[in-house]
Amino acid sequence: MIMKTNQQSRRNFLISSGLGTAGLLLTFSIPTACSRKLGGSREIQDFNAYLGIGKDGTVRVILSHVEMGQGIWTTLPMLIAEELDCDWKKIIVTHAPPGEPYIHTSYGVQMTGSSSSTYSEFDRYRMAGATARAMLISAAATRLGIDPSNCTTDSGHVLAGDRKIVYGELVEDAGKLTAPEQVSLKDPKDWKYIGTSMKRLDGKVKINGQAEYGLDKDLPGLQIAVVAHPPFFGAKVISYDATECLSINGVSQVVQIPTGLAVLATNFWSAKKGRDVLQVEWDLPVNSVTTTTQFEAYRNLAKSKGIVTQESGNVSEGLATSNTKLEMEYCLPYLAHACMEPMNCTIDFDGQQAEIWAGVQMPMEDRKKASEVLGIPEGQIQLHTLFMGGAFGRRTTFDSDFVVEAAHIAKTVRKPIKLVWTREDDMRAGYYRAAFLHDVKVGLDKNGHPQAWQHRVVGQSIHEQGTPFSAFVKNGIDGTSVEGARNSRYLDHTPHISIELHSTKNEVPVLWWRSVGHSHIAFAMESAIDELAHAAGKDPVAYRRELLDSKRHLATLNLAAEKSGWGKRLPDGHYQGIAVHESFRSYVAHVVEVSLENGKPKVQKVTCAIDCGLAVNPDGVKAQMEGGIIFGLSAALYGEITMDNGSAVQSNFHDYQMVRMSDAPKIEVFIVDSEEQMGGAGEPCVPPVAPALTNAIFAATGTRIRTLPVMTHLIL
């Protein structure tokens, strides 16, 4: 296989990710280091854009993807260490600056998302390690006057017979060499790190307070900015009176920016106190989205045919001639990302140059947006990505909302500023998972299998909001609105299918939220399949087996069923529900076990099986499953942002609740031993959680919950 890292072939990287490349001689030119030197006092020789080695043997890995909790700070270094054959303890890690070499191998922008970091970098980072190793060997061979083929490596040393040279000693010579154009990668049977659970390299700094998040950034003379945002989406400032605000101890000034009024002070508390007494008159809301009427409108829309996204046979006929007909409506609310660390951004701008510190998933795009506001070229802006207290899609916005807001403040103030959103700002500022209604009509044949499936999806499109990703919208279809329903493997043998979409529009900004469209589609699909199983009088696992041909769906379904003791005797009062869903190239099945306490479900246990192909860091994959299950349960049990006349009702964790320790079930995760195409781990665990839960509640009570969240229902 020949690969080049030019613009055109970048997209092809993805395809090569897998085991097929191992052992072959690969032609590859790894981009050289960015001209801007990364900080740090150690003398480190850059070998390429992804890796440098110090004379003391330190190996610096430069991450093209950002660490948001998903563990890429550890997984990408594993890929490099595997091929570089370095000492794992000598690795240090840093986020990449914005730069061409760090552009996503398949998406064409520098970004972290779609659960793609590991598989999209599987070749690039291994090759970065392999080329550096070849250069070190070459330098050692020259020094020893032998042929490179007589050299091997081991944990940061080049070995030749009984001679042994540490990498650090070779760095200077090796750094002068041209990177080889051809390298071979290890045979998987020789892997030392890949496929072995490695502890997180960011573990220690995250338990002693040393990890620096965006919110922790400090600079001499830093002013904290707290912004009075519009109370309704789309509202603007008409007038304001800052007299009282400016009298607060520590408050220095109030500046008007497009998104509201920024109060600046020496510390957060003063800035917030200032904002509390700021008198602002806002114009009236330009829209009036109210949750109850919104769902009524969606329900009405679902009565008519939408844009057809998948069609076969004649669905009306198929429904009319079916043995049994089922009609189901599923409703899902807006959801906030609610990252533990509220949005923030620090900027130091002197009129000519700027430095930005933030936790962002698209650093290059954010720098571009900041440069437009500051009126200076991108090259005069340094952007530093810090650790993120969660992201879940929230830090990948089309308009770089919080970075741009900080830039407007910095432009006026020309002093180092840190924009800090309160939890309330964060929760009420929008960019939610959109509210959706699914209208599903299914006709069963005499075997109880679906012969007709009409599915109308109603909700806002993420990509139609005028985004750089609007190319995702084809013929009026935003693929993410129907992903997981369109071409569902459950319908492989269904002759009459119509999967339709009504994309709605309003002022509430919506965004990808951990698992994007799958977060609502899987609820509709897996609830519906469960309803069909019961209508057909069949066991939900057996019924799924009857419908599914897909090997990987079946592997996870069967593993989760087996490990959870499906169909076996459970503790008294415990009931199980199952769901399986494919997303982001991985397959996940969950069995949720519930009991009832005071008319409410208590989740006792979740058994999870995942097939993500090769699991590079198995314990990291498990951690993502555990976390994704809790994330999914929080949404299914409690998650709901309701709109009242264009304004979000919920504001903080007292009314937007999360699963806490006392609700947290026991979780068991099993990874399918798989040689299939590699997939993601961060998101695929979320979609099957909600339906497995409501399916379990049905098993326990006979009550079918079709509207989330669960806790708004009393179940008896």
């Binding site: 533990m340 809790i630 964790f653």
Partner: protein, 153 residues
């Protein structure tokens, strides 16, 4: 205003109603203690006040008086408090943002109850939200920290 934090005393010139959280973060530059909600709902800001876990986001500095504050930075010299060791062993953190608060709450629990059962862990830890969902590992790490540590692990 005088404040004793991690065995050091400070003289602060701040509004008496300023919550301890912001005095720590913005004035003393001890940023290991995190802001998550500001209304005692998430536990990210947990510190010890004479050994008891408190929510620093709702504790005005004027209410502290002579009491001694310990933050995550002062929990151990070398990141080797038994709770921290267990956290590393189980590889608890994901984004890590909530973990200072989780660790401070867990350390206070173990001080009072060296071998907490699951119910005791639920009771002590339910004020601390982890959005990344690391509860399974937190529970495991607390049980582990409650045991004498096996030096070989």
């Amino acid at each position: 205003m005088k404040l004793t934090v991690n065995n050091k005393s400070y003289d602060l010139d701040v509004d008496p109603d300023m919550p301890l959280l912001w005095a720590l973060r913005d004035v003393l530059k001890l940023t290991g203690t995190k802001y998550g909600c500001g209304i005692a709902q998430c536990g990210a800001c947990t510190v010890h006040l004479d050994g008891n876990p408190i929510r620093s986001c709702v504790t005005p500095v004027q209410a502290i008086g002579e009491a001694k504050i310990t933050t995550i930075e002062g929990l151990s010299e070398n990141t080797d408090h038994p709770v921290q060791q267990a956290w590393l062993e189980v590889d608890v953190p994901q984004c890590g943002y909530c973990q200072s608060g989780q660790i401070m709450t867990a350390a206070a629990l173990l001080e009072k109850n060296p071998h907490p059962d699951d119910a005791a862990i639920d009771a002590a830890m339910s004020g601390n939200i982890c959005r990344c969902g690391t509860y399974e590992r937190i529970r495991k790490a607390i049980h582990m920290a409650g045991q004498p540590l096996n030096k070989d692990v």
